[in-house]
């Protein structure tokens, strides 16, 4: 079973990568979505305006996107298989070390992404970015974090593992997906500012602002970012509370400023700051989004920085 789990993960990564290619095809050949009128002018000015040449790549693009979406579902199935077979092999919740934590968190990220796309099919082409971050993180998990299947250390042997670590992993995965539209918002926002009232051909856009042409309107991205964070924040809060209850039973105190606890607190405060900034009309939306991005940076510090560099009570990474 553990062999199956270990071979399913590369399959999932490969399928996600193929999906990424499909999204990239859709992305490259589709017309710009955010500013359709302007794009039409550009096409018309760039070459002989012919209906057939325009419609064909668009169909091909949509096909690429549809294939990519199917591949994402298949990748998610293989991904889920990795987790389940690992759990069966280890005879426990597959959340006992950093490798398992990241694999599970990435699955939550993909699952939330698929949930979003199911409800809002017109965001499909953003799957390029969603699969990109997941492939990157899973790549790190498979190469540097991998730990063979093993039983839990005594400190983790508690039913609180299923509650606390699952909550932490789920909220991390959802925050990860929230990070994607947050960054895209910044790109699109810059793009909109630079192209406002100017014919597109006259503006020279550098990467990554040039990506903005094919992104949804900034309000759409901003609202999506907010809703994802609103979903993740209570789960993160619950992860902290359940962690405190477990810590009381295991270490005798509900809170002890262990490095992992400190960074949970920092992320919580930063994300709370984002929600407050978002609710305050006098704070610009760009500022609020930057706070959300800082929030994700603190999550990464907690996951990689603290696990690799600082020794604490939460040193279960198995590295």
């Amino acid at each position: 079973m553990s062999g199956l789990s270990d071979s399913l993960l590369p399959v999932a990564i490969l399928v996600y990568t193929l999906a990424m290619l499909g999204y990239a095809v859709e992305y490259a050949f589709s017309s710009s979505r955010g500013a359709p009128s302007r794009q039409l002018v550009t096409v018309g000015a760039g070459g002989p305006p012919s209906r057939t040449t325009e419609a064909e790549p668009r169909n091909r693009a949509a096909l690429g996107g549809k294939i990519a979406l199917v591949l994402t579902w298949l990748g998610a199935a293989a991904h889920l298989g990795t987790i389940v077979t690992r759990g069966i092999a280890a005879e426990r919740m597959p959340l006992g070390n950093m490798y398992e934590f990241v694999v599970f968190g990435c699955f939550v990220a993909i699952a939330s992404w698929l949930g979003i796309v199911t409800r809002r099919p017109n965001l499909r082409h953003l799957g390029l970015y969603a699969t990109l971050v997941v492939v990157l993180l899973l790549g790190i998990a498979a190469t540097t974090l991998f730990t063979p299947v093993g039983p839990l250390v005594p400190a983790l042997d508690s039913y609180w593992l299923a509650i606390h670590v699952t909550a932490a992993s789920i909220s991390s995965g959802v925050f990860l997906i929230g990070f994607v539209p947050a960054v895209l918002f910044l790109i699109r926002n810059k793009y909109e500012r630079l192209t406002a009232g100017v014919p597109e051909r006259e503006v020279y856009l550098k990467f990554p602002v040039s990506l903005g042409a094919k992104l949804p309107r900034s309000e759409v991205l901003e609202r999506l970012t907010f809703r994802i964070h609103v979903f993740a924040f209570p789960i993160w809060t619950f992860a902290g509370i359940s962690g405190a209850i477990w810590a009381e039973a295991a270490w005798g105190r509900y809170w002890g400023w262990d490095p992992k606890e400190v960074w949970l607190f920092i992320s919580w405060v930063v994300y709370a700051g984002y929600l407050h900034a978002r609710a305050t009309p006098s704070v610009r939306r760009t500022t609020a989004i930057w706070i959300a991005i800082i929030g994700w940076v603190t999550m990464l510090v907690n996951l990689f920085g603290i696990n690799f560099m600082v020794e604490g009570l939460h040193s279960y990474a198995g590295l």
Binding site: P154, T237, A244, A249, A250, W251, G256, W263, V269, V270
Partner: protein
């Protein structure tokens, strides 16, 4: 003057200030995770100060080793809480008023509101539908006003009030809580009773005195650990007996299963081996001691000392020649490595145990009243030559041949006992913290998920608006108008 105070208060309670304070709080928490903290691991702080004689004292001066109890950290969170109170008090009043204030009249033309529909029915009919959907409804002059979603603000206020409950819980814990750490060797002789003198290390809350500790005793009956072949631990179980007031009992103490006594909980922190040594002195007297050795690696390579300050006393006179005290410095390997030069244990259980001893004779330096570690001999006595090594280091096995020293005295290694290190803790703030946490979550969910919205009806026209961003308002209105059965319900 009043104006200045008023302005400062308004500044402090503004959302911008709160945001800055939140950001400062996050930044201020960072150094505590990078530098060692006294409250977490004091020995690491001492190491840091020793290794960084330049920066260390300066960092210490600015509380960088006590970040979370530092004045600047406290200043940030106290300001934040003041700002919080200043923010929620007026909102509490507004919310209470909003719940009782009559609903506003329907506008003359509801169809001008952000979301509008038509409804071919009477005002009463529409009001009944709204009531079924749990709106607060008022009918005036044939027009309907309705509002829903007060729980959003209520939840928001509950969330923020819960933060204050948490602060109270923390304060109570730091005033009335206490904790102590203690090493307990297996057997009736190792029994530990809950008094300050018996702790190896302790911390009392500001309002706790030595006499406030509840009375109980704990004894280690047996200890069992299991490991994988790699040495990774699988389980630790300490079978303990306790006397709590008049109640006697036993408990299987495990890492996630503390012993909960009346007024304190006992937690399992660590475990190890305590070798038993028997020394036969010049006069043929046998002296026995059991000394816990501290382990330095996961394979339980352990080290410690056994001292015999009363050795070689002349039974006739009760006196001793100077320099006839004896002590042993030892390293215990529960499983001897295949290569004896390694000097570290190969496995944490006692598969092939061996005790390496170095004998010292002379003046142990215990009579001068200066407290010293029970896990090492006094280096100053060795350096000054008052304590001299005797012979070559020697390896002993449990129950094996005694080691005969040059003066004819012998030492035998009888075996080992297990020891566990326990933490004993009491924090009366815990129930308050749990209550606060539950309220926090109970308030957070509606404050994020619920939207406050108003619906108006006049002359067949329906209009609605939401106070908070609510893309689903139109859909909700459609549902309200579609639902046929609702019109039959009259409230």
């Amino acid at each position: 003057m009043v104006a200045i105070v008023r302005k400062a208060w308004r500044q402090l309670t503004s959302m911008r200030t709160a945001l800055v304070l939140l950001f400062l709080l996050a930044v201020a928490a960072v150094p505590g995770s990078l530098l060692p903290q006294r409250g977490v691991a004091i020995e690491k702080v001492n190491d840091y100060l020793k290794n960084n004689p330049g920066a260390g004292p300066w960092l210490d001066r600015f509380y960088f080793f006590d970040v979370y109890s530092s004045p600047w950290f406290a200043a940030i969170y106290l300001l934040l809480f003041t700002s919080l109170v200043g923010c929620i008090l007026p909102r509490l009043r507004t919310q209470a008023e909003a719940l009782f204030r009559p609903l506003p009249d329907a506008p003359a033309r509801p169809e001008r509101l952000p979301v509008s529909r038509t409804f071919d029915g009477t005002a009463e009919d529409f009001a009944a539908r709204l009531k079924k959907a749990r709106y607060r409804v008022a009918i005036r002059d044939g027009a309907v006003s309705a509002e829903k979603g007060y729980l959003r603000e209520t939840g928001n206020l509950l969330f923020h009030s819960a933060l204050i409950v948490l602060l109270v819980g923390v304060a109570l814990g730091s005033w009335y809580g206490w904790h102590g750490n203690r090493l307990i060797v297996a057997g009736p002789d190792g029994e530990f009773c809950n008094t300050l003198q018996q702790y190896d290390e302790y911390g009392l809350g500001a309002r706790v005195g030595a006499s406030d500790l509840p009375e109980f005793c704990v004894r280690l009956d047996s200890f069992k650990a299991s490991y994988l072949d790699s040495g990774q631990p699988l389980s630790f179980t300490a079978n303990v007996g306790y006397l709590d007031g008049a109640k006697e009992g036993t408990h299987r103490l495990k890492v996630n299963e503390p012993l909960r006594l009346n007024g304190a909980n006992v937690y399992l922190l660590a475990n190890g081996y305590a070798p038993i040594l028997e020394y036969t002195d010049k006069f043929g007297r046998k002296l026995t001691t059991t000394v816990p050795f501290l382990n330095s690696d996961p394979m339980l390579t352990s080290s410690g000392v056994a001292v015999f300050p009363d050795a070689n006393l002349d039974p006739a006179t009760g006196k001793r020649e100077y320099g006839q005290q004896i002590g042993f410095q030892g390293v215990y390997l529960p499983t001897k490595p295949a290569d004896p030069s390694v000097g570290r244990s190969a496995f944490p259980t006692e598969k092939d145990p061996a005790l390496m001893l170095v004998a010292y004779r002379g003046d142990l330096g215990l009579d001068n009243g200066i407290p010293s570690s029970v896990y090492s001999l006094k280096q100053s006595q060795i350096d000054s030559g008052r304590l001299k090594p005797v012979g070559e280091p020697h390896m002993l096995v449990p129950g094996g041949e005694p080691w005969k020293l040059d003066d004819g005295t012998t030492v035998r290694f009888l075996g080992t006992k297990s020891w566990v290190a326990v933490s004993v803790r009491h924090d009366p703030g815990e129930p308050i913290m749990l209550t606060g946490a539950v309220l926090l979550l109970a308030g957070l969910l509606p404050s994020l998920a619920i939207r406050r919205r108003r619906v108006f009806y006049r002359d067949g026209q329906v209009g609605a608006l939401a106070k908070n961003e609510y893309p689903g308002l139109g859909a909700e209105l459609d549902q309200l108008l579609r639902d046929k059965d609702a019109s039959e319900v009259r409230v």
